[in-house]
Amino acid sequence: MAKTITFKPLDIGFWLAWLGYIVFLGVAPLIFSSNLGLTVLSQIGTVIIAALSYNMLLGQTGMLSFGHAVYGGLGGFIAIHAMNLVAGGSLVCPTSLIPLVGGLGGAFFGVIFGWVTTKKSGTTFAMITLGIGELVASAALTFPEFFGGEAGITTNRVIGHAVLGISYGPQRQVYYLISAWLVICTIAMYAFTRTPLGRIANAVRDNPERCAFVGYNTQKVRFLVVVLAAFFAGISGGLGAINFEIVSSENVGALRSGSLLLFTFLGGVGSFVGPILGAVVYVFSLELLSKVTQAWPLYIGLLFLLIVMYAPGGLWSVVQMNMRIIKFQLFRQMLRPYAVILCAALPLFLGITTLIELAYARQLDVGGDAVVRIWGLPMDVTSLMPWLAAFVVAVIGAALFRRAARGFSLAWGRVHEIIAERTAGRGVSA
């Protein structure tokens, strides 16, 4: 067979990143071995799959969906019913493959709803997904036989006989099941970005009109991507069903869909890694930040605003830009601006969070006790002093931050100018 041999330097960083990802998933439960650690890790695994599948729509095909939780949720319901059937003896399916059942369930609904939603694109598509989301959420309360009403459907994941000592009773075993599926799904979704359909999905995102004039039915492209994304969302839902042993109407609701959108965007839709980062932030805020402060949705909202305004490429794009600076050995020039801006940001951050916490404590009147601890300091919400002090610190912080930000953005611009010059020079010579 005649084959052109093209020399391509082996991308070591690429393979190291994959290796690191898999090794980390393998050893993580040894590092975070507490119950909380395992719970958080397991949940992160399921959410990463959901966020990656959402990004197949938003980041790769340019489809803004407000109802993606529908597929994960319905996949979860199918999976949990399958588990209950297995427990009842009327179905044979090892627990390890239950996520696949969820995936097929998700894909099935992807075919049905995708057929409706992808008839239109852009804003109309977004509106139809919103409608489908509401439709399914209300159906969840109307058909208790399938959805279990308010309480949802519960199950016991320890079904059948233990295979090789794996019963999926202990959380650690569930974590490894989730991780195994996570690795498979991540590889599959990454591979998708390098297939003809995956590339044409990008083309549809960039310019649907032109896509039609190179022979593609853009509606069919969007439909196929929705079905595939729904399949992976369904796997995530199936894993969630095993992990929590319950699926309820919450799983298909608008709040879940909104969170998927928000955190995928927060992580970054322009790259493959972004949604993974977003999923981690999501579970951290849901499981950890929420235990520290009741104002956590407010903080997430503020973070989201900052990202939309200053780093629309998401958190991962911030990481990428800094890695680029490091690669060009210019990070030394950024050390001082970074130190200055962090010092200036600290009082601003402390001041604002203290004000927010004071407001929450006063509003919620925690336990009738007027004294709360904020950043380790006892503060009396009824007296003026802590409010005034926090306000003053915040104002001083804001003033300092403004100055520091100016210096920072100058340094940032300078560094990127140098990078642009160097890459332009390389482009001409190459």
Binding site: L197, R199, N202, D206, C211, F213, V214, N217, V221, G427
Partner: protein, 255 residues
């Protein structure tokens, strides 16, 4: 049996609301010819292109491609029958690299369609074809650059590249040299000549030096009708055509 025409328009009409833009256009484009459509602004040249490529549906009349009626076909279906078009306003995949733009343009015609079970990198024919076109349009150096960052002239070249990459036999170019400098447009003429070798070309163009440099035949469209269709020399001498160019006989055409 005679060989069917590449493109034939039969009494084609298109109205937007009460305004009739195309009023009974007739045109016969034989295979392997380079055809230029000229005419004053607002004559309906671009509308004609949008009708032929399926972007608009005609109000009445027929469009035939290789003897087959295109009625009711959508743009991607017309494209699959061997007709490809470029756009007056650059219409590329701006976030994809130049190479990926061209690879997207060849995938369907090579039969990969909606495949999500094959790796792009392993499709040697798609890569080769995209690289050939890359070479042809002179953008090899810019292969990895996102298309949105190209200069205007480079984007126009890519526009033509995407149009011809799929191997369509009938090529429609909508003002391929619009907004170009003299040297850029000379370069573009050469490019068009090369990439349309052995194919049927239909192009809308305002630049008369481009038209007379490329076209075998010229169709003059005025007020939605084809008032003349002939060789460049005869069109230049045609009184009706001279009149259409606002009573400044031959001046516009002599440019």
């Amino acid at each position: 049996m005679s060989v069917p025409l590449a493109i034939e328009l039969r009494d084609l009409r298109k109205s937007f609301g009460k305004t009739e833009i195309i009023r009974g256009a007739n045109l016969k484009v034989p295979h392997g010819q380079r055809f230029a459509i000229i005419g004053p602004n607002g004559a309906g040249k671009s509308t004609l292109f949008n009708l032929i490529s399926g972007a608009f549906a005609p109000t009445s009349g027929e469009i035939l491609l290789n003897g087959h009626n295109l009625a009711g076909l959508r743009p991607f279906e017309i494209n699959r029958r061997g007709l490809s078009r470029s756009f007056q306003i650059t219409n590329i995949f701006h976030r994809l690299s130049v190479f990926e733009n061209l690879r997207c343009a060849v995938l369907y015609s090579l039969g990969y369609r909606y495949s999500f079970w094959q790796s792009l990198e392993k499709l040697a024919d798609a890569r080769e074809r995209a690289e050939n076109v890359l070479e042809l349009i002179g953008l090899k150096r810019r292969s990895e650059t996102p298309a949105g960052l190209l200069t205007y002239a480079e984007q126009r070249a890519l526009e033509i590249g995407i149009t011809v990459a799929g191997g369509a036999e009938v090529i429609l170019l909508d003002e391929p040299t619009a907004g170009m400098s003299r040297s850029e447009s000379d370069h573009a003429v050469e490019l068009i000549r090369t990439v349309t070798e052995g194919k049927t070309l239909l192009m809308v163009e305002h630049d008369m030096s481009v038209v007379f440099g490329l076209a075998d035949q010229i169709a003059v469209v005025v007020y939605g009708e084809v008032i003349a269709c002939d060789t460049p020399e005869r069109v230049r001498a045609n009184a009706k055509v001279q009149e259409a160019y606002l009573g400044t006989p031959a001046e516009a055409l002599d440019e």
